[in-house]
Amino acid sequence: MDDRERPGEVRDRPVTTTDAPHSARPQAPHSPPARAAQPKRLTWRMRLRRDRTLLIMTVPAVVLLLVFNYAPLVGLVTAFQYYDPLTGIWNSEWAGLGQFQQLFQDAQFWGSLQNTLYLSFVQLILFFPVPIALALLLNTVISERIRNVIQSVVYLPHFFSWVLAITIFQQMLGGAGVLNQFLRSHDIGAWNIMTDPDTFALLVTSQAVWKEAGWGIIVFLAALSAINTELYEAAAADGAGRWRRTWHITLPGLRGVIMLMLVLRLGNALTVGFEQFLIQRDAVGHETADVLDTFSFYYGIATGNYGYGAAAGLFKSVISLLLIWGANRLAHAFGEDGLYRK
């Protein structure tokens, strides 16, 4: 093998692990040569020529992202306009911060923000611990087959659409559902949970638990299986009982993952779900069911007040970014990885 790179020659190129971009070893961009026989650094032109196929492969995805993810970023200026679809984004009248002023005086907006935070809090308390507890429980099941069966069953609802999940809830707990059949046949007054605003937070949280908690197990199970069993053995030899072992080995082993999930959850504090609320909004009334996302949708699209809805959406995005950043800083302060290693 000679080590000369012949630009433009695709076939029978010398195969070295150092100049080809095909080595699986991560390389820092300016890493020193790994071998003495390292050829001179390729010029960017040569590298471009060598890797053009790889770049061409990324083009479709990049184009789609540019059109549907980056172009809407330009559309965010509508939050500062009195946007009118007829005159278009370039000619609409500027509002400055007018939309935001109006927004902050809107009782409905504050109501939806309040709902969002409240629901987020309820989810944090009632939803977040469930997958962890389930994973711990499942981890103690010895039979592999039983574990697999349980896992496949609890993962399933994650793949249901919200329409389907809510339909199932409706059929079980709704006015004509199984629960009320039972109540009526035992002469207890019927109770329609699905339309009761007082218990709405509990209802949507239990829906979320039913649908997503099983899926949430995966991450924790993986972390559990990474814990070294010798630790348990050593602890048992030292006379630590089952609970002591859980407390001193299992939970510390999960700490990193739990922190990561917590960071993500806090970062998404203003995102409690969208379709779920959209579907149930009419049944319980918008005072209870409106969250920031549905507010933005209803006042932006349904009423054609685009600038107003965009302003609400932008408000949410900015706060969310700040929250993610803050939660991540907090995780690092606690000496955890958070979203990335420091």
């Binding site: 971009p21 095909h22 699986a24 990324t58 559309g75 099983g214």
Partner: protein, 321 residues
């Protein structure tokens, strides 16, 4: 293995899947569980599994029940009593449900194909570390995970491109999942470089390597990501709400489910207030449940094949780009 019990007792063959054959044993240092603890564990796990399976069971049974059986049960049926296929025959005889099923299938098949082609290509294109410009493209992808224009600007872009009422508006705006690309990429970059270098020495180009080397060695993750995309398209209904005028011939199944089953509104284009109301032969309820089952069937058919690979697909440290 020698048979230590030559008389009478046959050793169980190792391949038998009899209960206990594959039973893992407790580690020697672990204390045996208490009766109470064991009972609590069994009860809890049974309840967890039950909350998923029991509703599905009730729905399936009700969809196969005769009106008489439903009346006797006073609503949804817990135990098969009088069974009939009539609800399904009637449902598939309905033009609305039939077209919705076709629309849903079309969205799912075409959308998944588009998404997979785009994602696999992009993931492979970014998977060779040290290739020219891959870092920049990677950043371009990752930024979209944290910053998005949000609902309204996206809506304006799609409608601005003339997407209102168009089939592509249901597919393209959500066709690229950066998360899925990162998962695929982290797998592709684990493909052994010896294999790839060998293929390259044999004169294979990147297209050929992707098709004949990388894809065959990462079937599991490809299957999982395909399922993720397919389920996303099958379940999508909000895009329809945004971009489709209220014409029933363009509704997917989820939308029929929402309007007809959830809200109890009769299907459009029907006289006398929706189907099922005037049919004495079929209870409206079993017809509704049949629609629910119809939305479940494709999922339940595919699910068992892909389910065992989930852990690989979900846990790849995709974030560690």
């Amino acid at each position: 293995m020698t048979n230590v019990f030559p008389i009478g007792r046959k050793p169980t063959p190792a391949t038998s899947t009899a209960r206990g054959a594959s039973k893992a044993t407790r580690a020697p240092w672990e204390e045996p569980p208490t009766v109470v603890g064991r009972a609590a564990k069994v009860l809890t796990l049974t309840a967890v599994v039950g909350t998923v399976l029991v509703p599905l069971w009730i729905i399936v049974v009700t969809s196969f029940s005769t009106p008489g059986a439903i009346n006797r049960a006073g609503g949804l049926v817990l135990w098969p009593d009088g069974l009939t296929m009539r609800a399904y025959r009637e449902m598939l005889g309905e033009p609305t449900v039939r077209t919705a099923l076709l629309v849903s299938l079309a969205i799912t098949v075409i959308g998944t194909a588009v998404s997979m082609v785009v994602s696999v290509l992009c993931a492979y294109g970014l998977s060779r570390s040290g290739s020219f410009g891959h870092r920049a493209v990677l950043w371009l992808l990752i930024v979209t995970m944290f910053v998005s224009g949000g609902l309204i600007p996206t809506f304006l872009v799609v409608t601005g491109l003339g997407g209102y009422g168009q089939f592509w508006a249901l597919i393209l705006p959500s066709s690229v999942s950066v998360f899925n690309i990162l998962v695929l990429r982290s797998f592709y970059s684990q493909t052994s470089s010896e294999l790839i270098d060998a293929a390259r020495a044999d004169g294979a180009g990147d297209w050929r390597i992707l098709w004949s080397v990388v894809l065959p060695t990462s079937r599991a993750v490809t299957a999982v990501i395909t399922l993720f995309y397919a389920v996303g398209y099958w379940n999508s209904f909000f895009n329809v709400m945004l971009y489709m005028p209220t014409e029933s011939e363009k509704w997917p199944l989820q939308y029929v489910l929402l309007t007809y089953v959830n809200r109890g509104i009769g299907l459009p284009g029907q006289t006398n207030g929706g189907f099922g109301e005037t049919h004495a032969q079929t209870a409206p309820l079993s017809l509704q449940m049949a629609v629910v089952v119809l939305t479940l069937v494709p999922l339940l058919v595919v699910y068992p094949f892909v389910q065992k690979h989930f852990r690989t697909g979900v846990l790849t440290g995709a974030i560690k780009g």
